[in-house]
Symmetry: C2
Subunit: 354 residues, 2 copies
């Protein structure tokens, strides 16, 4: 009974979250999201400035969907994969999931006060931004393991949905789910309107992203591939079957893990792939290596005033976020990948931009 009512509450929270986010996007983007019929090419990407990036995307769709084109891809085979953090929404100053883990850690210490004296928990709880920025990836993984496992998948979903409904990004004072890039939402809708199945392929937690992917991106749970831990099938106090999240890594969906995860979860090679960091390099390379027309795209964060500038552009140093190194930038140029400049290619970034 406990599980059932928690599940119902989760669904209610989710439904409210969904309506807010979908309504918000529909009002501000002119309804670009959803099951719209194919749009005239001139209208498909209204938030994009004319340029090589916009042209590469439109040319790819034209070549793969025109039955007269030698690069035509049958509708049932059309797959496009998108990294999430830094590609579809903001990843600075820290991944949303890490912020969620930090919030859970505060709650957790009420039941387990001994954590307060142990590293790396002590540093996280201190709130000292400089010290937190110096934590290693291994330290962060310890925090994730302690905070995001041990509960049922349904409890996890409910808790994430409740946090997302109330948490606010400190810079924009808005829910994290509003920090998605309107131009990329247009790309998702444009690909779907042209028969592509759009997948998120993220280094972030699969269960975490699945909580909001449908409401925020129109992407259902089965089209979210992410870093995933094992679950164990067991029974709650009422004999009802539950899946408990275990601190055991099944899929590390980053770098080479991305094409490996794509094979495991999708079983097809995508024709198009979008990313923004070295964590996406192998996914883009894998997508490009297939026959026929291929599209590999990197989002370059070079707009410090409207979002952030980091990587090969001047600006914030990289800390825990995937790195868009100068080397990756060189490779993109050498391989003929498309690089999106947020500053020059995008008319606006967020739905709430003036």
């Amino acid at each position: 009974m406990r599980m059932t009512s928690a599940g119902a509450r989760g669904r209610r929270t989710l439904a409210i979250l969904a309506s807010i986010v979908v309504l918000g996007l529909a009002l501000t983007t002119g309804g670009a999201i959803g099951q719209a019929p194919p749009q005239p090419v001139a209208d498909a990407l209204p938030s994009w400035n004319e340029g090589s990036a916009k042209r590469a995307i439109i040319d790819f769709i034209r070549t793969t969907t025109d039955p007269a084109s030698p690069g035509f891809v049958p509708p049932q085979d059309r797959v496009a994969t998108f990294d999430q953090d830094g590609t579809l929404w903001t990843e600075h100053p820290l991944y949303t999931q890490v912020l969620y883990a930090f919030a859970r850690l505060h709650l957790l210490t009420e039941a387990k006060p001994e954590l307060r004296q142990r590293e790396p928990f002590r540093t996280v709880l201190s709130g000292d931004r400089d010290a937190i920025a110096k934590l290693s990836l291994h330290d962060l993984e310890k925090v994730l393991a302690v905070t995001l496992t041990g509960m049922s998948t349904e409890t996890f979903r409910t808790e994430v949905a409740e946090w997302l409904a109330h948490a606010r990004d400190p810079r924009w004072k808005r829910p994290y789910t509003e920090l998605t890039y309107v131009p990329m939402q247009e790309v998702l809708a444009y690909f779907r309107a042209n028969g592509f199945r759009t997948y998120i392929v993220t280094g972030g937690g699969q269960d975490f992203v699945r909580v909001y992917a449908q409401a925020v991106y129109g992407i259902p749970p089965e089209q979210v591939v992410g870093t995933a831990g094992a679950t164990s099938y067991t029974y709650d106090a009422n004999g009802k079957p539950v899946l408990i999240k275990e601190p055991k890594l099944l899929l590390n969906d980053d770098q080479a893990g991305k094409p490996e995860g794509i094979h495991f979860m999708i079983g097809r090679r995508p024709q198009a792939s979008f990313g923004n960091s070295t964590g996406d390099r192998q996914m883009l390379e894998y997508a490009r290596a297939g026959d026929g027309p291929r599209l590999a795209v990197l989002v370059l964060h070079d707009d410090a005033s409207r979002e952030y500038a980091y990587g090969p552009a001047e600006g914030l140093p990289d800390t825990h976020v995937g790195t868009f190194t100068a080397q990756l930038h060189d490779e993109a140029i050498r391989q003929g990948w498309t690089v999106i400049s947020m500053k020059t290619d995008w008319k606006r970034i967020f739905a709430f931009d003036p």
Copy 2:
């Protein structure tokens, strides 16, 4: 280059295999497979005799798809999962995948003659059916690891497709891909015509089943959940990225591994689930434990003349196939699961039946 031409050959072989199988089924089942519009209820399951099993299936579809029903499920949430071996096609006397592994072992010993003297390979190569029947599951796993890993995913796909095109079942002298149950093909088509996404959730190898699932069942690769090994992303001699199949288990998609695999790969609880053995028990239990109308179905092999009889029915002993134990049969009755008698519920079993 080698990989490219092998890939092209594989696709050609697959295309030929696909046309033969699809054409064969379309000719013999009256085109029950495919994107047909919803059919009148009376025609949806023509190979089924009237009875409680057929009624339970039709009632479930009616309740979940009628917008006026309190059990209505929105189309985007409709998911049904199907075990393969013994549920959608014949699993006796051995799983098709094990037969494939045995065939590969013979080829493999040409390159590695030392395997001929080592167990369990020596027993398999002897062809002694009684001795083979006594091999443990662990022995069989050794054979699978040696024969089904070490090559690229594309080479694996090509080799499986070529074997399937030529191998014949000794009893019916037909390709294994023809040994699917027409009544279950009708159920798959009926569910899809009513907006359900149909998934295979198999203890068999995910990569193996994906080779033919589209052609044989109309189920695309991303809707096949199966036992899966890791792959490693690397480069061939020409610098082309490839995924190499590794002898490291990622997902043991059997028993409790089935609901765990469903959560991992689909992220939704199915409303309906079909199986035939103890390996499917937890999947059926998990499907049943959700809210609203639920359907859990077991196929009972009780027709020795048209197919096989084993499990609680008299007939062949269980060897390496999942077991439909008397205990499972009791549980099905107690839980109100539907049990299909192949003998009395199905008018015909195979498309080639007279």
